[in-house]
């Protein structure tokens, strides 16, 4: 019943709830097949850095200098990946930081390796940083190796109570409520989890996640 994307939103929601009580920051990123060309390692990590800097109210002087300097180049020049990683490491060292990355399997494979190496560098340089990622099982080995250790993996699978929660939510939004009665509803709630005990129920737009 639980997909990676649900896992992401459960965890991101939980972390965002904790921000009000603790001195910590959360940055997140969602990979998407449809945007895979735009989601280059530089844009992806730049986006994380952007989120981390947004809340600080000030800029690292080095970034301001590079921003001013790049204006002289024809058409401007973006920050290099190594600089972004260095800045991310420095900024995440300021306070407890959680970085959440959804659907790593939707990232271009060669970009994925580059990004995982960058994550590993940030984690090693900033011990207070935690990284949460989701993706299909076939990339588990790539993720664990790419990060260079320190990864714990959890397999997400369907649970009957998740399925029932989901079904009840869907039935509440039934566009033909007149065709439903309590007997039929209970029948659906009982029979569907039994029939799909070995299946996953993805939530959200299926076009986002499946080839």
């Amino acid at each position: 019943m639980l997909t990676g994307r649900d896992g992401s939103s459960v965890v991101v929601d939980y972390l965002c709830d904790q921000i009000t009580e603790q001195d910590m920051t959360v940055a997140c990123f969602y990979y998407d097949f449809a945007s895979r060309e735009a989601q280059s390692p530089t844009n992806m990590l730049g986006s994380l850095l952007k989120q981390l800097l947004s809340g600080l109210g000030a800029m690292p002087g080095e970034i301001v200098q590079k921003f001013q300097g790049q204006k002289k180049a024809i058409g401007g020049r973006r920050l290099q990946l190594a600089d972004i990683v260095k800045m991310c490491t420095a900024v995440t060292s300021l306070q407890r930081t959680f970085i959440c990355v959804d659907a790593l399997d939707e990232c271009v494979p060669r970009h994925r390796l580059e990004v995982l190496h960058a994550f590993g560098q940030i984690l090693r340089g900033s011990p207070n940083t935690r990284m949460f990622m989701t993706g299909r099982s076939h990339i588990q080995g790539v993720v664990e190796r790419g990060l260079g250790g320190g990864t714990i993996s959890v397999c997400i699978k369907s649970r009957d109570d998740d399925i029932v929660t989901y079904l009840r939510a869907r039935l509440r939004n039934d566009t033909s409520p007149e065709a439903m009665d309590s007997v039929l509803e209970n029948d659906i709630i009982k029979s569907i989890p039994e029939g799909i005990s070995e299946m996953y129920v993805p939530v959200g737009d299926p076009e986002d996640s499946y080839e």
Partner: protein, 107 residues
């Protein structure tokens, strides 16, 4: 200079002296230069689609707690948590997808 900013600089100086923060007038331009991507928009879309209560069990797992709390209990430190699953391969099935069985995978 705000108190939070001062605190940030102080805590940062404890870690490294290789970076100095400065007030930037063109902060929004610099942030846009860092990346054109805006994942916050997608985050809001995904949160709106979520059904409350689904997946809350994940937050209670030993793996999640160990990752979230760090090595404060003296255990091994896992800075990264990877949640994985196989949603299936049949695109036309909108809501139900058979998982791909992975032999030797401790799911």
């Amino acid at each position: 200079m705000s108190r939070a900013f001062t605190d940030n600089i102080n805590s940062f100086n404890n870690v490294s002296n290789s970076i100095i923060f400065t007030a930037a007038d063109d902060e929004s331009k610099i942030l846009a230069w860092l990346s054109p991507l805006e994942p916050q928009v997608r985050h809001h879309d995904i949160c709106e689609q979520r059904v409350d209560g689904i997946g809350d069990w994940l937050l209670e797992t030993r793996e999640f707690r160990s990752w979230y709390n760090g090595n404060e209990n003296g255990g091994s430190d896992h800075a990264a948590l990877f949640c994985h699953g196989d949603p299936g391969v049949r695109k036309s099935h909108i809501w139900y997808e058979k998982p791909v069985r992975n032999k030797g995978h401790d799911c």
